[in-house]
């Protein structure tokens, strides 16, 4: 067993027994961590792996949450039955939104996705078709039922979120080892070289976009169930900036990097409620400082890209 496997196993075991060691306040922090980590990993598929400058990721997270909320509250679907919609709908919308703009150069793509996020926010706030509940959102989402058995405790939601994170990590591992993952890697490294090798760049980028959106949608569904409510503020442009920053501050395409990023951005504020006021100020300063000191993130991925300070000692892996 090598070091990475050991750390991964330790992480899974600790997260697995976590609900039995803590009180309910900590448990809900744990759920927050799992949900946001899943979203951050899904953003990492798009931003870190495919290199698509996506600053509207909260759209897909929110779309999943709102799909579950609307289908459950307005149409009486069981939560479990809403899940497929919360996964497929964001993926389809991702393809529709990204399709026309995927060829744009980085910064233009960034601005276009910001635009989509702000339009999404306005759609939610203006209570479109009387479904989204306007600025207050939707309340009273049901509990999860499996074969008529209610999973209402926080522990159950925790394990649902945990299972989702593990599935996400499994998908990412399979992706990295697949033809698609390698294609994305080369596109990200050198788009022109990849193009000249015959890689269909828009196809793979859109694939990553749809996959990331689908996972974010599933996480959104869990988020809606955890709070039994959804509101536009949770999915605004600022939230997208946070996901964008998590991936790049933590280190893109790096599992520990994204975990660290999520912890710092979403878990720390829950722990230190007294610094909630100045939270964004501190994060902003930390974002600048991290980028100045470590432009590739706190813990960048080492696959094929060994940090300079490791090179003389270890050589090429």
């Amino acid at each position: 067993m090598n070091k990475t496997t050991a750390i991964a196993t330790l992480f899974v075991v600790v997260m697995g027994v976590f609900p039995f060691l803590v009180d309910s306040a900590w448990l809900s922090i744990g759920i927050t961590f799992l949900v946001f980590a899943t979203v951050a990993f899904s953003q990492d598929i798009i931003l870190g792996r495919a290199g698509v400058f996506n600053m509207g990721h909260a759209i897909f997270f929110g779309m999943g949450a709102y799909t579950t909320a609307i289908l459950n509250v307005h149409f009486g679907f069981e939560i479990i039955a809403t899940l497929p919609f919360a996964i497929i709908l964001p993926a389809i919308i991702a393809l529709l939104l990204a399709g026309p703009i995927i060829h744009l150069r980085g910064d233009y793509l960034l601005v276009a996705t910001i635009g989509f996020n702000i339009i999404f926010e306005q759609v939610l706030k203006n209570d479109i078709f009387g479904l989204t509940g306007g600025p207050n959102g939707i309340f009273g989402i049901d509990v999860v039922r499996v074969f008529g058995y209610e999973l209402f405790s926080d522990k159950a939601i925790y394990y649902i979120a945990f299972a989702l994170l593990l599935i996400t990590l499994l998908i990412i591992r399979n992706l990295d080892n697949s033809r698609y993952g390698r294609a994305l890697y080369y596109i990200n490294k050198d788009e022109i070289a990849a193009k000249s090798m015959g890689i269909n760049i828009p196809y793979y980028k859109l694939f990553a976009f749809a996959l990331g959106a689908a996972i974010a949608g599933a996480a959104g569904s869990v988020f809606a169930v955890q709070y039994s409510a959804v509101s536009p503020e949770s999915f605004n442009f600022m939230q997208s900036v946070m996901f964008f920053a998590i991936v790049l501050v933590g280190g893109s395409a790096s599992l520990p990097g994204v975990i660290i990023g999520t912890f710092v951005m979403f878990v720390l504020p829950e722990l230190f409620t007294e610094f909630k006021e100045s939270r964004y100020l501190i994060f902003g300063a930390a974002m600048v400082l991290t980028m100045v000191l470590r432009p590739n993130g706190v813990w960048p991925a080492t696959f094929g890209n060994i940090p300079k300070f490791l090179k003389p000692k270890k050589g090429v892996k």
């Binding site: 400058f53 026309p100 703009i101 744009l104 150069r105 980085g106 910064d107 233009y108 960034l110 601005v111 276009a112 910001i114 635009g115 989509f116 702000i118 339009i119 306005q122 759609v123 203006n126 050198d190 022109i192 442009f237 900036v241 964008f244 920053a245 790049l248 501050v249 893109s252 006021e277 100045s278 939270r279 964004y280 100020l281 994060f283 902003g284 300063a285 930390a286 974002m287 600048v288 400082l289 991290t290 980028m291 100045v292 432009p295 590739n296």
Partner: protein
């Protein structure tokens, strides 16, 4: 017809504000290929600074032209200093770093300024004094024009003309244009690139400061996170005109202002932002280089 003319005047006023702010984005993008996300918040900051200078120096009494000029000058100096500081701390160390690192740094800087405003002046709305400029209004055939609007239109036009002449006719302007085309070549020609970038930040910040003060004088309500919206609108204006192009930013600003005013006048105010961003996305799809943008070869 009256509504149309009224919205035309309002649109040109807002458009001038967008243009002033857009110039800051477009100059930085032209030279550094960086979206300066903190620029919008710098604009919001200048409105707050102006308000504070007004209440500290002149109390709440109705004021003369001299005091208005003092407020504009002091605010411009302070904001220019912050702009230069921003470049030194957040952008200069990242000039050779990956593109996205600089974007994150810019976003971080934006968060710092925005939440700095919130911590200093509080999260609630502040109201800009109404009597800073004379409250004269003219009614020309049913179309109402305020003194503030006239000031905004005239001063923006003068500033933009001055900037255009500065960029195109002076030695320093030539150096700025050369740096925008190729930094390394400019360096070889003996141009101090660091100094050029500093000058760009000073000019951009001063124009942004004047834009921010006008926003305060025109809309009167200040809220700490207003920088995002004005900043994004101005940035869209820069893209419409062709980012990197100075006349483009002016034309883009005016067009976006008119577009916004007509949407607000004829269709809906609730969906105004949505229309702005739909316009942006259509422009990005159809002509990503904007109206006056040049077609550049794809950078590798």
């Amino acid at each position: 017809m009256d509504i149309f003319l009224q919205q035309l005047i309002n649109g040109l006023t807002i458009g001038s504000l967008y243009a002033l702010v857009a110039l800051g984005y477009t100059m930085v993008y032209g030279v550094m290929k960086l979206i300066n996300f903190a620029h919008g918040d710098l604009v919001a900051f200048s409105a707050y600074v102006g308000l504070t200078i007004f209440s500290q120096l002149f109390g709440s009494s109705a004021t003369s032209f001299v005091s208005v000029i003092i407020i504009f000058v002091l605010t411009s100096i302070i904001v220019a200093f912050v702009g230069v500081l921003l470049e030194r701390l957040a952008y200069r160390p990242l000039r050779t770093a990956p593109r996205l690192s600089a974007v994150v740094s810019a976003l971080g800087a934006a968060l710092v300024i925005q939440n700095g405003i919130m911590l200093i002046w509080g999260p609630n709305m502040l109201i800009f004094p109404a009597d800073l400029l004379p409250n004269t209004t003219w009614n020309i055939g049913g179309v109402i024009i305020t003194f503030t609007q006239v000031c905004i239109l005239i001063l923006s036009a003068v500033l933009m003309a001055a900037l255009y002449i500065f960029i195109n006719k002076t030695k320093m302007g030539t150096a700025i244009r050369a740096t925008a085309i190729d930094q390394d070549a400019a360096k070889l020609m003996g141009i101090n690139v660091n100094r050029i970038i500093m000058i760009i930040f000073i000019i951009g910040s001063i124009l942004g400061a004047i834009g921010g003060l006008f926003i305060g004088l025109y809309y009167r309500a200040l809220i700490f996170d207003m920088g995002w919206l004005y900043g994004l609108s101005a940035f869209i204006a820069a893209i419409i005109g062709g980012i990197g192009s100075i006349p483009g930013a002016m034309i883009g600003g005016l067009l976006l202002g008119l577009f916004n005013a007509l949407i607000a006048g004829y269709i809906s105010t609730e969906w105004a932002e949505t229309f702005t961003f739909i316009l942006l996305i259509i422009i990005l799809i159809v002509r990503p280089t904007g109206i006056l943008g040049e077609k550049t070869a794809e950078k590798v």
